[in-house]
């Protein structure tokens, strides 16, 4: 709740002027406030309309309008053939989706949460990711696996795991992790249009958060390139690299640090694999300090990979301090609110880590 409010307040400055603008120019599609959920729904709607080979399957995606209402209205519009409710059979329906992709369709396979994708992970990795390579390009698999990833609120250990590191480990997959509405819309459209398996990691806590979307980003052919990070905030003193929900946390931390004269550059990875290391290196060569922020566990995680890559590249020589990782606590997610709150990075953890890295 607090995070949502923060997000809204941050965009509040623009929101007021946007509202005023909207009041005057009713006809022109000016910048609008769109929730991440609606951005995803619109993206799927447009892609379903654009290409009749695209279809959506998963649990409760059709008549229930989606477990998190991300597919609201799609079944009414497109019907049983293109929006398919599946039984609770992840391994089975994921294999079916991959087979359909092999035979020429372009499925969107929804996991109610990525925790359930573990039951189907063999189909994602061995049947989807590796096939183009094993067949020397004869057989491609144009599929999107999407669903909420990472921690939610009070759903406890089996429903809170972040799978970014696991999927990003495997060649043959593209792994994207949007933060705001523009990311969600543009990356989902790019993923659906991509001829390769794309793992699309959403975040349940972000679904209801509204962001301003530019006119350009509302066009039907707007896509965000997979494999390119975005600098959300410029700064000179430290580089904060993050993905998904924690980009927001980084921006909030940066706002607080700015008051103390520390200007952070915040990079929104957008894509985990292939990772845009160049953007991080360019930033680190400017700021000389690196802090990575993620919700997942520390060991063998996204932050670990960033640190290793920085060490292997030109930016290492520009570091004035070892890189720092801010991560989820290395435990299964507890239930009680106070425990859960302290199991994931909070804004104060980011502020603390930046200051430690800067030695202030």
């Amino acid at each position: 709740m607090a995070a949502s409010l923060n997000c809204f307040l941050r965009t509040g400055k623009n929101a007021v002027s946007a509202l005023r603008r909207r009041g005057i120019h009713r006809s022109a599609p000016a910048a609008v406030q769109v929730t991440v959920r609606d951005a995803l729904t619109q993206a799927m709607d447009e892609e379903l309309e654009r290409d009749e080979r695209v279809f959506l399957l998963g649990e409760e995606v059709a008549q229930y309008d989606g477990a998190y209402k991300v597919s609201r209205g799609l079944w009414k519009k497109y019907g049983d053939q293109r929006i398919i409710d599946t039984p609770i059979s992840e391994m089975g329906f994921t294999g079916i989706a991959v087979g359909a992709a092999m035979a020429g369709l372009r499925p969107i396979c929804e996991f109610m949460t990525f925790n359930f994708s573990m039951q189907a992970i063999d189909q994602v990795i061995n049947s989807a990711a590796k096939t183009c390579y094993m067949s020397a390009g004869l057989q491609s698999v144009p599929i999107v696996f999407r669903g909420p990833n990472g921690s939610s609120a009070g759903v406890a250990a089996q429903h809170s795991q972040c799978f970014a590191a696991w999927y990003a480990h495997c060649p043959g997959l593209k792994v994207v992790s949007p933060w705001n509405s523009e990311d969600a819309r543009g990356l989902l459209k790019a993923a659906i249009r991509d001829d390769n398996p794309v793992v699309f990691l959403e975040n349940e806590l972000m679904y209801g958060v509204a962001f301003e979307m530019s006119e350009e980003s509302q066009s039907k052919d707007f896509t965000v390139p997979i494999g390119k990070a975005k600098v959300e905030r410029q700064g000179n003193h430290a580089t904060l690299v993050s993905h998904s929900r924690y980009v927001g946390h980084c921006l909030d931390a940066a706002a607080v640090l700015a008051k103390e004269g520390i200007e952070c550059e915040v990079i929104n990875l957008r894509t985990i694999r292939p990772m845009d290391v160049e953007s991080i290196e360019t930033s680190v060569m400017k700021t000389n300090h690196l802090v990575t922020v993620e919700g997942g566990w520390p060991q063998f995680g996204v932050g670990a990979e960033i640190c290793a890559r920085i060490m292997e590249g030109p930016a290492f020589n520009y570091l004035d301090a070892p890189a720092t990782r801010v991560t989820g606590v290395d435990i299964p997610m507890p239930y009680a609110k106070i425990l859960e709150d302290n199991s994931v990075p909070q804004i104060k953890d980011i502020i603390f880590s930046v200051k430690k890295t800067l030695n202030v």
Binding site: Q81, F93, A103, Q123, S135, G137, L138, G172
Partner: protein
Amino acid sequence: MKNMLTIISNALCRITGRNVLLIDLSAYVSVTSPEAPDLAKTQRQPPKPPPPPPVSTRAHDAELVSCQSDALDAPGARVMVSRSYADLTTQATFDIKRCDLHRLEEGPPLRAELTRDQGLQYYRTMQTVRRMELKADQLYKQKIIRGFCHLYDGQEACAVGIEAAITPSDHLITAYRAHAYTYTRGVSVKEILAELTGRKGGVAKGKGGSMHMYAPHFYGGNGIVGAQVPLGAGIALACRYQGNNQICVTLYGDGAANQGQIFESYNMAALWKLPCIFICENNKYGMGTSVERAAACTDYYKRGDYIPGIRVDGMDVLCVREAAKFAADHCRSGKGPIIMELQTYRYHGHSMSDPGVSYRTREEIQEVRSKSDPISLLKERMLANNMASAEEFKVIDIAIRKEVEDAAQFATSDPEPPLDELCNHIFKSSPPLEVRGTNPWAKLQSLS
């Protein structure tokens, strides 16, 4: 007749350089087919051909042809027996074993028609698969093929019978014992063997190996036991989605039949009436575990519960063909999925690292070889019904041997894939990608 014998005889004289006598035996042998059903039902061994009459008692001197008039007593004179092609049977009908049925009122027909051309084609295909697999065995023992190699010899009637019942625009997916299906789906022996030996001329450019070969409408070749079954159901979904009247044949073994994802596939295929033929190739052993030790219910054709099933003699190519046709019609008519259990046998062990005799007896293997070999069964049927001659089969065998030998030659001499293609084909239609090599300075390139 006389002219034809003259022509053939002269040609043979020239070719062999020997004096050749051709004797027309049509006066002595009945070349019209006896009533086919009786013969097909009762006989396993072809009838012994009548002995050629001694030349001196020949009644029709006018039909005796030779290059030299006094050739009969010359050393090297040979007598050849011929039948005119015009006297061979071009089509026959055979009784085939009745299939056990599950949730079906009627099953496949009890008689199968076979034309001469079809018979020769099935024979040719089965024999090619047999020889190809035996060649792979040989190359593996010479360590020219490495890693996994799961051979199909003994099961040829399944692959050939199925292909005879479907069209090239239908789809097929199987597990790792896939070389035969790769061939029946259109890949040459050369490209298969070269893939096994890991050369750039292989069907997957050496990147896939034994278990990962692909062709149009053939989806491999899958290494994870059972994973191909949901994939097959998905391909069937694509067929129904596109409304193209195509079906998907999805194969798995008796070992895979106990995988949970197969039951998930059954459920969704039945719910959505997917045009999918689920085929269990029951060769009685899942690796080293016999079916009795692995399955509480070994009636694999019944395991689909609400899905109709047929149990088929998988050693008889005609039985397989008729059952597969029946199943294909069932799917194409919109009735949803169907299950076929093919009772078959593999002569080799599970893979090349399994001698195959620790969990079954040599006697058992030998018994199947002598009584139920699919290639022998077809050949004997055709010979018994005068649909082809023994010579014809020999000629075919020789041609196949040559084809497989040439393919093996290619597979051992073709170069391995070049190193600069190591990282290619990770993605399709993507811009070039940098790939990390074994160390930070090894920056490799991946092209689509």
